[in-house]
């Protein structure tokens, strides 16, 4: 089996949407962690890293989620609900993952864990809001906690 994989999701040009990518960047720069975990950024295209997920016991996905309490960090062990085909150009991250798991037998035994940081909105800009920026260390710590869990 390959090491656990951490995937940061989100567009860094879209403000708080990039929270997952920002957390992944912090984790990727942790040399001690990098020796036992692979960390990548997939921006908004989960399918692009499909081949990186195979033969892993665990895959952790860090993403922004819209909600009422900005900066809140939560862990989901079941994927967020899939919202059907609402998009003309793209599939949502949960939909892409559901699709991959459905047609890729080797992914069915992999444990997927979502680390979600709540944001109130996302708009054009390369800065995180103060709430999202404050949440990044909490996200990083939750990821480390999950990775320590056997």
């Amino acid at each position: 089996m390959k090491p656990d994989l951490v995937i940061g999701l989100g567009n860094p040009l879209m403000g708080d949407d990039g929270a997952g990518a920002a957390a992944a960047e912090v984790l990727a720069n942790d040399r001690r962690l990098a020796r036992r975990v692979d960390v990548i950024s997939a921006d908004t295209d989960v399918l692009s890293c499909a081949n990186r997920m195979e033969r892993r016991r665990r895959v952790l996905l860090i993403d922004a989620v819209q909600g009422d309490v900005p900066g809140n960090v939560s862990v989901l062990r079941e994927s967020p609900s899939v919202d059907g085909q609402q998009h003309a150009h793209h599939l949502s991250a949960p939909a892409m993952l559901a699709l991959l798991r459905q047609v890729t037998p080797t992914l069915r035994d992999t444990e997927f864990i979502w680390i979600l940081v709540t944001v109130s909105s996302a708009s054009v800009g390369m800065q995180l809001s103060p709430e999202a920026a404050t949440a990044i260390p909490k996200v990083v710590e939750r990821v480390r906690q999950e990775l320590r869990r056997r």
Binding site: M14, A88, L116, A122
Partner: protein
């Protein structure tokens, strides 16, 4: 008056989708609302150095990231007077073919096919036709392999830089791509069988103008230096640097995307436009594919853009294989990058992204920092044409119930493969 509203084409902060207003059976108004991120993102590059621009703008879209990166580099190099080597041109073209393969595979298999099979999503298709979805995934992975090898990453290339490439691919890497391309030939055949088997979708017919990049001396989309528009059999060209005389952008009240018209008429960009403007670029294999799909050029049916993507997918596989063979035969030299000296100036870069013409234009100061930027995406250029086709779809539909009209309207919008939703992808609970 009745109104048909589809508000889920975009997922950004309430923006979005399609609104059709009807007076009885007559269409009184059609609106295609676009959150057009690139326009707003232009502000992010102002004041940035020339070597920071491509990595920033590539993030406008994860699917189209190589096209944004390479179009940006082309504009920057034109502004700073940098002439890259033929090897760099070839590698950049190969990177664009990789993008086109993965993007068309994504759109055809995961976004368009569910419409034809009357399924709500690719996940529903996968439950009944897992082999078809696996086929799409294999083709997408092939495109991603090319992007990762040439661009350094599967998305948001970091290896393409002003003046050339940070590193060039090794012979072993090129041989691996060649093997993957050869192995994909049966998949291309299976893809054509699948697309040919889909139900007919001829519910919107109207004469359409098409625009694409054109070069009389090159078979490359990266190197094209003219814009050609084909309308009613007439052909007109404008120099790429004079793109504004093609786009003639005008703001509209209902959309963030300005509307583009040529001689007062909307035009369509993308796969169907490229096949119409550049029939000579079609390889023998893809000409056969066109016949198998009964794709007649010029077409008056925007749904044919899906068939055109399938033809291009075959074409791209052949072109990519030719390019890789050439690179293996000639040997890739570690030639380094052409030195860049900052200077004041303006440069335009235009390439063909998977969904059509993509324009970047930058003005630099004498320190090599951006003073102003202009980015026009294919989806923005297509907005007026799409509204025209949405109107015709309703006018020509014999079925008048809202559910049927909504389905047809969404199919037309998706056939354009619009890039609306990829700028942001928040999960909504």
């Amino acid at each position: 008056m009745s109104t048909i509203v589809i508000d889920h084409l975009a997922r950004v902060e309430g923006h979005g989708g399609i609104t059709v207003e009807l007076e009885g059976d007559a269409v009184s108004n059609v609106r295609f609302d676009v959150f057009e991120g690139a326009r707003l993102l232009e502000g992010l590059v102002r004041g940035r150095r020339y070597d920071e621009i491509a990595p920033i703008v590539s993030r406008i879209c994860s699917i189209c990231s190589p096209a944004h990166c390479l179009t940006s580099l082309k504009a920057t190099e034109n502004a700073l007077g940098v002439q890259v080597s033929p090897q760099t041109d070839l590698l950049r073209e190969l990177l664009l073919r990789g993008e086109s393969i993965q993007s068309h595979a994504l759109h055809l298999f995961f976004l368009a096919v569910p419409d034809y099979l009357d399924r709500p999503s690719a996940i529903a298709v996968a439950a009944e036709h897992p082999a078809a979805v696996m086929l799409g995934l294999r083709l997408k992975r092939l495109g991603n392999l090319i992007q990762e090898t040439i661009g350094g990453r599967a998305i948001h290339p970091v290896n393409a830089v002003p003046g050339g490439f940070g590193r060039v691919p090794s012979a072993d890497q090129l041989i691996a791509i060649r093997s993957a391309l050869i192995e994909a030939i049966p998949d291309a055949e299976a893809m054509l069988d699948l697309i040919a088997s889909l139900p007919d979708a001829g519910f919107c017919h109207t004469p359409t103008a098409y625009a694409a990049l054109y070069s009389p001396d090159s078979d490359r989309y990266y190197a094209g230096d003219q814009l050609m528009i084909v309308s009613n059999g007439d052909r007109a060209t404008v120099p790429a640097a004079d793109y504004r005389s093609l786009t003639n952008e005008q703001p509209v009240a209902h959309s963030h995307a300005k509307h583009s018209t040529f001689n007062g008429n909307p035009f369509m960009v993308g796969s169907l436009a490229r096949l119409t403007v550049n029939p000579s670029r079609i390889t023998e294999g893809s000409a056969t594919a066109s016949g198998r799909l009964k794709l007649s050029i010029p077409s008056d049916n925007p749904m044919d853009n899906n068939k055109a993507q399938a033809v291009e997918l075959v074409n791209d596989l052949g072109l990519a294989l030719d390019m890789v063979e050439r690179l293996i035969h000639d040997g890739v030299k570690d030639e380094g990058c052409v030195p860049v000296t900052p200077r004041a100036g303006t440069g335009v870069g235009i390439t063909e992204a998977p969904r059509g013409l993509l324009v970047h234009s930058y003005t630099y100061d004498d320190q090599g920092c951006v003073v102003s930027a202009d980015v026009i995406t294919p989806t923005a250029m297509n907005a007026a044409s799409l509204e025209q086709h949405l109107r015709k779809t309703v006018e020509q539909s014999a079925e008048r119930d809202e559910a049927t009209l909504k389905k047809k309207l969404q199919m037309i919008a998706r056939a354009y493969d619009p890039c609306i939703s990829c700028s942001v992808h928040l999960i909504r609970r």
